[in-house]
């Protein structure tokens, strides 16, 4: 998609009729513009409301009293929240490291090598992305119960790696598709062996894709609720699980504060991840 940006924008179709002053044309044009603006308001209003109310001093969630950091203060005093944050980070970091290494390796094989059963493996690689969360969650739960894995942070990490490999692979493969292999040939012509070529040419060029994939994996892991909910053991509560149980107990302003922090964290991570991928010329929208 980004390749098309050099083209001139499509001519506004309705301009001719609008010049004619047709009422229908003007109505349609107005409706289209309105839907564009409405779309952004719809997407951002709930987020803005959540953020605004996290600074509300009132104990009642829906009525505004005055600006305050009170609920952020409460958060820092909440020991269970601290444990949840630590668990979330442990899971996110471990699953990101493992899935980034494995996902990058498998991408190199998928884009550059032939091997028997490649088509089937390609399908297996995409399935974790398209399968409903709830289905993946229960099948992992059943598997862990039957194989007598005790549910713990470890089972959450294993499950997160299982879906993150696929997401990392999508991002890294997009980067590999646009890869100019002549650069590697040039390095080899200049006497570099395969390993030097990989280390000094291929890997640095792939880096934006790898980092983009890693950040995406980190965000998905940090945000995941459904799969974590089913594969978490006692004492392995992550932030989303903590938020969920708080919501189920009753809405408190503290939830707004922790939600705002989590939103801010994932927004920053996603923005950096998307920008990194874009730098490589891979379409931002490939993942949608």
């Amino acid at each position: 998609m980004s390749a098309d940006t050099s083209l001139s924008p499509p001519k506004p179709v309705l301009s001719r009729t609008a010049r004619r002053g047709s009422l229908l044309g003007r109505l349609i044009r107005g409706g289209i513009t309105a839907s564009g603006i409405f779309g952004y308001v719809f997407l951002y209003a709930p987020i803005v409301i959540l953020i605004v109310f996290s600074f509300n001093s009132s104990r009642f969630v829906s009525s505004w009293e005055s600006f305050s950091f009170r609920w952020y203060g409460e958060l820092f005093k909440d020991a269970a929240m601290g444990t949840a944050l630590k668990n979330s980070l442990t899971v996110a970091v471990s699953s990101t490291v493992i899935s980034t290494v494995f996902g990058t390796m498998v991408s190199l094989a998928m884009e550059r090598r032939r091997f028997p059963g490649k088509m089937a493996f390609d399908a297996l690689l995409y399935l974790p992305i398209i399968i409903p969360d709830i289905a993946m969650a229960v099948m992992l739960l059943l598997f862990f119960v039957l194989s007598k894995f005790g549910l713990s942070l470890m089972t959450i990490i294993i499950s997160h790696v299982a879906f993150n490999i696929s997401f990392v692979a999508v991002v890294v493969r997009a980067r590999l598709v646009g890869f100019d292999r002549r650069l590697e040939e040039a390095a080899q012509d200049l006497g570099a062996n395969e390993f030097q070529t990989f280390w000094h040419v291929t890997l640095p060029l792939l880096m934006p894709g790898i980092l983009g994939g890693a950040l995406l994996a980190f965000t998905l892991s940090l945000d995941d609720f459904v799969i974590t909910f089913f594969t978490a053991g006692v004492g392995s509560t992550t932030l989303p699980l903590r938020i969920y149980s708080m919501v189920k107990l009753g809405i408190t302003p503290e939830i707004n504060a922790v939600s705002t922090l989590l939103l801010a964290a994932s927004m920053v991570l996603v923005l950096v991840s998307l920008l990194l991928q874009r730098k490589g010329g891979a379409p931002v929208t490939d993942l949608a």
């Binding site: 229908l24 009525s63 294993i158 949608a288």
Partner: protein, 296 residues
């Protein structure tokens, strides 16, 4: 001396690997293959096998092949849940299209230098925490939420509107959650559209409605179909949204699966339910790729 032997050994190992591309490929795919087989394919197979077993009186598993779990879908209780899930997913998809297609059209007709930024701004909420975004709607929709509070303080209503704990709330939450999934493929299709065809239609005296229905819409249909798939499939398998926004009566397929596994502990029946959900999703995806291959 020892340094040169290690370099020689290293070189020997490098040459050994270099001469074996098959081994290199195996090394590259093995970790992912192992992980996805053990922690994805095998669990999938277990769910499939379990869906044909039976739950004993004490919650244990009875190894006796039977189709009883699948027959239970025809229980009116579960048929109703299936019907409601399809209705909610269908309405979600419809509203996503109704608001998403014009927005995609608007985006695709913006100046090129703005388009990528606008897309980025569209994508950001999509990749943030789904649970938190769903929770935000509780603040807006519940009886003491923003909408009801505002309307009541303005004196427009005396009783809170039933916005929360029902199908309506679930549909709002799902449309919110999957809206960009409709906009992006529609946008991609509209952006690729050759607008000279539309001009040709208008030169031939087609009015706006006609040139949309006969030219623009048919040419961008593949994008719409992709959007419909991307919204319908996750909506049908939704779990968090109905759990948080729907009431006790607004139960969807995902909630049944959850309660079978975590509350009732009827693993075989829960397995059958999740297997049917996956099968619907897989069939839809396959049909989509067949149709997509034909139109492309």
């Amino acid at each position: 001396m020892s340094a040169s032997t290690t370099t020689n050994e290293k070189r020997g190992l490098l040459n050994f690997i270099r001469r074996r591309p098959g081994l290199q490929t195996l090394v590259l795919i093995f970790p992912s293959l192992f992980w996805l087989v053990v922690f994805f394919a095998v669990p999938l197979l277990i769910v499939f096998v379990y869906s044909f077993l039976k739950r004993g009186p004490y919650g244990q598993i009875v190894w006796e092949f039977n189709l009883g779990n699948y027959a239970r879908f025809f229980d009116p209780l579960y048929l109703k849940i299936f019907a409601r899930s399809f209705k909610i997913a269908g309405l979600t998809t419809f509203f996503c299209f109704l608001f998403g297609y014009p927005m995609a059209y608007w985006l695709a007709t913006r100046p090129a230098k703005w388009r990528n930024t606008l897309l980025l701004v569209l994508m950001i909420p999509f990749w943030t925490n789904f649970l938190v975004r769903t929770y935000a709607w509780i603040l807006i929709l519940r009886d003491t939420g923003l909408i009801n509070n505002a309307l009541m303080s303005l004196g427009l209503i005396s009783q809170p509107l039933p916005l929360f704990g029902n199908d309506f709330a679930i549909i709002v939450g799902l449309v919110y959650g999957w809206f960009p999934d409709m906009v992006l493929p529609c946008y991609a299709a509209i952006e690729r559209l050759d607008f000279s065809l539309v001009e040709a239609a208008q030169d031939l005296y087609a009015n706006e409605a006609r040139s949309f229905l006969r030219v623009i819409f048919p040419l961008t249909l593949p994008g719409v179909v992709a959007g419909v798939m991307l919204v319908f499939i996750p909506s049908l398998g939704a779990y968090v949204t109905p759990d948080l926004l729907g009431g006790a009566k607004s139960v969807m397929i995902g909630n049944v699966i959850q309660s079978q596994f975590l509350t009732v502990r009827d693993y075989p029946f829960g397995s059958a339910f999740s297997f049917v959900l996956m099968a619907i999703m897989l069939v839809a995806t396959l049909i989509y790729f067949r149709v997509g291959a034909r139109t492309a």
